[in-house]
C-alpha cells in the first residue's frame, strides 16, 4: 500500500454557531485525536445569524488533513468547513505587535526596517517603539527575526485570518 506520509501545512476556515463551548469542541477534537494546531483564531462574524468564524492552521499528512476536515464537518455546531489550501488561491493575514527597545543607530535602523515592512509605530517612548505589522506569516516572521538584533522585548501575534480569493463566499 502506498501512503503519502509527507506532512503539509493547510489552512481551514470553519463557520460555526456562536455558542458557548464551540472553541472547546474544536480544540478538544484536535488534542484528542493528536492533530496539530499551528494557529487558531476566532471571532463572531455575523451577529444576526449568530455565526463565528475559525481560521485554523494545521499540519498533517494528506490522510490526516482529510480526517480533520470530516471531523470538523461532523460537529453539530459547525455550519461549513473549507480547506482553503486544497480549494485554490487564498489570502492569509496576521497581525503582530512588536516591542523594541534600543538607542542610537539601532533605534534608527529599527524605524527604517519598519518602514520597509510597512509596519506602523503605535507606541513610542524615548527608548522604545511598539510596531504593528500585518501580512502573511512569512512576512511577520521575517520582520520579527530582523528585530531580534535590534532589541526585541516582546511579541504578540494574532494568528492567521484567511479567506479564498475571488467573488465567492463560504
Amino acid at each position: 500500500m502506498t501512503k503519502d506520509r509527507t506532512v503539509i501545512r493547510h489552512t481551514f476556515s470553519v463557520l460555526t454557531d456562536n455558542e458557548p463551548g464551540v472553541a472547546a469542541r474544536i480544540i478538544g477534537l484536535f488534542s484528542g485525536r493528536g492533530y496539530n494546531i499551528d494557529s487558531m483564531t476566532v471571532a463572531e462574524v455575523d451577529p444576526e445569524k449568530n455565526l463565528s468564524r475559525f481560521t485554523i492552521v494545521t499540519t498533517g499528512t494528506e490522510m490526516v488533513l482529510e480526517q480533520i476536515r470530516h471531523q470538523l464537518e461532523r460537529l453539530v455546531s459547525s455550519r461549513a468547513v473549507k480547506d482553503l489550501t486544497a480549494e485554490g488561491p487564498h489570502l492569509e493575514r496576521e497581525l503582530a505587535l512588536i516591542k523594541v527597545k534600543g538607542e542610537g543607530a539601532k533605534r534608527i535602523e529599527a524605524l527604517r526596517l519598519a518602514d520597509v515592512f510597512r509596519a506602523r509605530v503605535v507606541d513610542s517612548t524615548l527608548e522604545s517603539f511598539v510596531f504593528e505589522v500585518t501580512g502573511s506569516t512569512e512576512k511577520v516572521n521575517a520582520f520579527i527575526s530582523l528585530m531580534k538584533d535590534l532589541g526585541i522585548v516582546e511579541v504578540a501575534r494574532t494568528g492567521v485570518a484567511a479567506m479564498s480569493r475571488g467573488a465567492k463566499g463560504m
Binding site: M1, Q67, E73, V76
Partner: protein, 591 residues
Amino acid sequence: MSTETTMNGAQLLLRALGDQGVDTVFGYPGGAVLPIYDELFKQNSIRHILVRQEGGAVHAAEGYARSTGKVGCVLVTSGPGATNAVTGLTDALMDSIPIVCLTGQVPTHLIGNDAFQEADTTGITRPCTKHNYLVKSVADVSRIVHEAFYVAKSGRPGPVVIDLPKDVLFAQGPYTPPPPAGKEHKNYRPRLKGDLRAIEEAVALMAKAKKPLFYCGGGVINSGPRAVQLLTEFVKLTGFPITLTLMGLGAYPASDRQFLGMLGMHGLYEANWAMHDCDVMIAIGARFDDRVTGKLDAFSPGSKKIHVDIDPSSINKNVRVDLAIVGDCGHVLEDMIKVWKARQAQPDKKALAEWWRKIGEWRARDCLKYKSSKELIKPQYALERLYHHIKDKDFYITTEVGQHQMWAAQFLKFEKPNHWMTSGGLGTMGYGLPAAMGVQIAHPEALVIDVAGEASILMNIQEMSTIAQYRLPVKAFILNNEYMGMVRQWQELLHGGRYAESYMDSLPDFVKLAEAFGAVGLRAEKPGDVDGLIQEMIKVKRPVIADVRVDKAENCFPMIPSGKAHYEMILGDEAAKTGEQKVSEDGMVLV
C-alpha cells in the same frame, strides 16, 4: 410555535420526552434532579427504572436501544451522577448507540462556584458524546430535547447529554413541539443517498470481481431492518461470501452458507483468509477497526476496496479505500441492487466457483475445533450446549468483555439483527449485566442471557438488585475460570506466563450471591452438569446466576496476535503443539 400555557422546566422536559416517544427512563435520583423526579411521580406514561449505579443506567439504556432500534434514555443527578455515566457514554459513542442522557446540574448562579455535587458535566462529556447541551433558559428546554433526539439517532448514532441546572427545572416557560417532519436541522444533515455514479462504479467493480467479499458491520444494523433485508437480498443476488464484524453479527443470517463467520483478532480462519486474499472488498457500515485489520500494511493487500458509510470521517481513517460512498447503508444498498439488476450483472461464475472452492478448503481447517474433555467443562462446550438449548427460542444475548465474549461471538449464531449486544469499541467490562436488564425491560417475554466472565460481572453486580426489584428473568451465564481470562491469555502468550494480578482471588460464592439478591443460583462443575444447568436456567421464570466452572487454562483461538497480519493467525491445535508464541516488540506495545 409555542403554546399559550407555560409549565415548569421539569414538566416541559417530560412532555418533550413523551413527544419523542420515550416510554422508559433508566436513572437514579439526587438533589439536582428532584424536580424531575417529582414530575415523574405524578404521571404514568414514562416508566422509570431505578438502577443501583449510574453506570448501569447507561448500559441498560444501551441494551434497550440496541434491542429495539429506539433511542435509550437516561436520567442522572449532577456531579457524581454525571461522572458515573461517563463510561457508558463513551461506550455508546464508540459503538454508535443512540442515547439521550439527562444530567442534573447545580443552579445557574452557582455554576463555577465549586458547589455541592457540581461537576463541569458538559466539559467532561464533550469528548465522550456526539453532542452536549447546557440548558441555560427554561425557554430552550423542549427545543433542546427535540434536537438532542434528532442528533442522537441521525447519521451515525451516538450519545447526547443535556445538562439541566436545577433553577431551570423550576422556572416557568412555554412548550415548543417537535419540528414538523421534513424541516431540516440548520447544520446537521447527514447524507442518506449515496452518489449514484460511485454506486455504478462499485457495481462495475463487483461484477468483474474474481474473489469478492462483503465485509459488513454494525452500521447495517443501525440503518434499520430494511437495510438488513436489503443486504441479505444483495448477498444472495451476487452469490458472494460475506463476513461480519463483532458489531455486525446478526446483520446476515449466521446459518447461511454464504456467511463465513466473524472476522478479526478472534475471527474465523476462513473469514480472515478471505479478507486477506480477496480482490474486491465491499465494506458496508464497518470502520476498519484495528481488531479487524491487524497489521495495517499487510491488510488485504491485493484488493480494491469499496467503502459505504454514513460517516465520512470513518472513510480513509485507517485504510485507504479505492471507492468511497457516503450514505446510509439502506439507501445505498437499495441503489446498488437496482443498478446490479439494471445492468443484468453476471459475476464471473468460473472464478467465483474457484473462490468458493478455496473458501471450502479454509473452512475444512475447522478453526473452532477444541480438545474436548470428560473431566473439565470446556467454555466452548458450555456455549455449544447453550446454543443447542436456546436456538429455537426468541433469545437475546449480551456479553461482558474478554474470552467469554469472543467465544460467544464464535459459538452462538445470530439469524436476526438486534439480538446481540456487546461492548465492541470500548471493551467495557461490566457492560453485559445492565445491558441485559435493559433488553429484558424492552422485551419482557424474551429469553435474555448475559454471557459473562466472573471478573467482568463483578464490575456491575449491584444491578442484580435492580433485576430483582423489577422481577426481570435475566440469566447471567458465567464462564468461571477464576482468571481475567483474556489478560491471562495475553500474559501466557506475550509475557512469559507471568500472571500478574490476573488471578481472581476471593471470588464470591455465586450461588449464594444469587440467593442473597433473591435470584436463583445454579452451578455446574462437570461436563455432565451443563445440560441440566442450562435447562433449569431457561425453565425458571426468575433471574438466574449460573456459575459454570470451566477449564481455567483454556485459550481463545483463532488469534491474530497484536501487530500481526491475518495470515499469521494462530490456531488452537497449532498453539498446543508449539507452546509459547513469539510476538514482536512492535506488537507488544499495541493493545
